[in-house]
């Protein structure tokens, strides 16, 4: 019987033929059904019906996150709403969120993509998958859920938080696969150790599929030692689908792209020029068979490279290297994408504070702790301690609403935030390389 994972060993030339056929459909569907793309292609002189080779896609213009925001909420939908089964949104204040739509087919391929992580870990029906990514508009929870179900795992949709219960379930249900952010996995490990448990004896974990934030090799080694399992890195973004765009296999030497669903290019972020395999640059993705919200040459702003060699595991899908940062100022805080401009937008609503600020990122018990330092304005009545406390709390709660991430606010003295050449260094990342 043909198994869904057979496609992972398809000869690359056949895979490319499949990609070309899909891309032709994608660019035509975008042109015909998404007014934004109709105008964009026309303005760039790109003929969507003239794509004959994968190289021809280089003539297509890029799509940016700003384009998605500008067309919020439904501007990028290429099918009627009645065909949409689900939507997800990237974090952001209303109006600047980006929306992904999923038809039944899209949900199916999403499940298939994430399920590859389970297959890479030699997992399947004998596994018990504990999903502690947050369920909701964030793609982490449901993406993992569809994947684990697709792979046939007994799936535990416990969602994020309540660490002691996570540990109880890990122990009592005997979970074998853990899906969450790497930092939360470390937090679970340390909490279990502090509770006097020995994860090697008390847990049955075999593999962890950890993504949504970058982590170092040292961090991985520490996690694997503490929880006695194998850690696989997973990559994805709401704009193209969610987690599962690329996942590591047990070789842990880069993440296999789901090349039957996504066409990847690496470009020079400054010139837009496509770089050869092996060169570091910005990852650009085109969806091959996404129905609801297809994207053409989406600039991810993530820096990686395509690993030129074949993977020792024998799978033919090419690999991207582990991410090396971003080309923009986006921060990843506890797995949530945060742009400094979102923080500025919230700050503007408080006349009591100046526009100078500094974001301090630190790691506390392996979880990101964020402090926003803001300067008080002279006309704010700081003589009243309760007013200061209330202001800090109000800013913090408005940030929480806008960013879905808890940020501690600290009022500081004027001019205490260092300015260099008249410009403040806005982000101090103390999380170190050992993220």
């Amino acid at each position: 019987m043909k198994k869904p994972q057979d496609i992972l060993a398809m000869p690359h030339d056949q895979l490319e033929a499949l990609q070309l056929a899909g891309i032709k459909k994608t660019v035509a569907a975008c042109y015909e059904n998404v007014p934004f793309y109709h105008d964009l292609f026309d303005a760039a002189g790109f003929d969507p019906y003239a794509v004959e080779t994968l190289d021809d896609l280089k003539a297509a213009p890029f799509t940016t996150k700003q384009d998605l925001r500008d067309n919020y909420p439904y501007g990028f939908f290429a099918v009627p709403k009645r065909e949409i089964r689900e939507i997800h949104m990237s974090s952001g204040t209303t109006g600047i969120a980006t929306v992904g739509g999923y038809t039944e087919h899209d949900l199916d391929i999403w499940g298939d993509c994430f399920a590859r992580g389970i297959w890479y870990a030699d997992g399947g029906e004998d596994d018990i998958a504990q999903i502690c990514y947050g369920y909701g508009l964030f793609t982490g929870g449901l993406g993992a859920h569809y994947g684990c179900e697709k792979a046939g795992c007994m799936t535990i949709p416990i969602s994020a938080g309540n660490t002691e219960r996570q540990i109880r379930v890990l122990r009592e249900m005997g979970s074998t696969i853990l899906c969450c952010t790497p930092s939360y996995a470390m937090y679970i490990a340390d909490t279990a150790l502090a509770m006097g448990l020995d994860p090697k004896r008390d847990f049955s974990l075999r593999a962890g599929i950890h993504g949504a934030e970058a982590f170092s090799d040292n961090f991985r080694a520490e996690l694997e030692e503490k929880l006695d399992y194998k850690v696989l890195d997973i990559y994805g973004l709401t704009e193209t689908m969610g987690p599962g765009v690329a996942i590591e296999c047990m070789e842990q030497q880069g993440l296999h792209l789901a090349e039957d669903h996504f066409f990847a290019e690496i470009i020079d972020p400054d010139t837009g020029e496509v770089l050869p395999d092996g060169a570091w640059g910005e990852l650009v993705l085109t969806t091959i068979d996404r129905e609801a919200t297809p994207v053409v040459r989406y600039r991810t702003r993530d820096i990686t490279r395509i690993i030129p060699d074949a993977c020792p595991c024998g799978r033919t899908h090419r690999r991207i290297d582990r991410l090396h940062g971003r080309t923009d100022d986006m921060l990843i805080i506890r797995g949530v994408n945060v742009f400094p401009s979102q923080i500025e937008d919230v700050m503007k609503t408080f006349p009591q504070i100046a526009s100078w600020y500094q974001i301090e990122l630190a790691r506390k018990n392996h979880l990101d702790a964020v402090t926003l330092k803001v300067e008080v304005n002279p006309d704010f009545d700081f003589d009243q301690m309760s007013a200061i406390e209330k202001l800090q709390k109000d800013i913090s709660s408005r940030l929480k609403t806008a960013l879905s991430v808890g940020i501690r606010v600290r009022l500081v003295e004027p001019r205490s935030i260092p300015r260099s050449e008249g410009k403040a260094k806005r982000v101090i990342d103390l999380r170190g390389d050992d993220a």
């Binding site: 300067e375 002279p378 700081f382 301690m385 009022l411 500081v412 003295e413």
Partner: protein, 142 residues
């Protein structure tokens, strides 16, 4: 009513010393200083002889400083004086945000009270009615 100097200070090394040095260099004399603090910051409240100039020199030096209107009441230096004052205020139901005492000579003590502006007339009436002397800012500025 007198003017108090209020300074917002970060809870970090040397800030209080820098504040006092700045005032000293401007030849400003303090009669009282009190600090309300949290782990991150402190609010320093000062009674001094020239609050208007103090705010200017501190702001110039990069401090966040402001003038705050507070009530100052002269109390006889004997047991029970403060209790009587507070009891007089208690009957008016006005809320006291904070208060502190200081003494400049052996005869009398001065009690500072921060009361919401809208409650201030009622409080002043009650204080005067109980026989206490309210100080004007000229009484402090020297």
């Amino acid at each position: 009513m007198i003017m108090q100097l209020t300074v917002f200070l970060e809870n970090s090394e040397g800030r209080l010393a820098a504040l006092c040095r700045t005032l000293a260099d401007a030849n400003i004399n303090m009669s009282a200083l009190t600090i309300a603090e949290t782990s991150d910051y402190g609010v320093v409240r000062i009674i001094c002889n020239d609050v208007f100039r103090a705010v200017d020199v501190l702001e110039d030096a990069g401090f966040r400083a402001a003038k705050t209107k507070v009530l100052a009441v002269e109390l006889p230096d004997r047991p029970g004086a403060l209790a009587e004052l507070l009891e007089a205020l208690d009957s008016t139901k006005v809320n006291i945000e904070y208060g502190y005492c200081f003494q400049t000579n052996g005869e009398v003590a001065i009690h500072v009270l921060k009361i919401k502006p809208e409650d201030r007339p009622i409080a002043e009436e009650a204080i005067a009615g109980a026989g206490f002397k309210l100080l004007h800012w000229n009484d402090i500025a020297g």
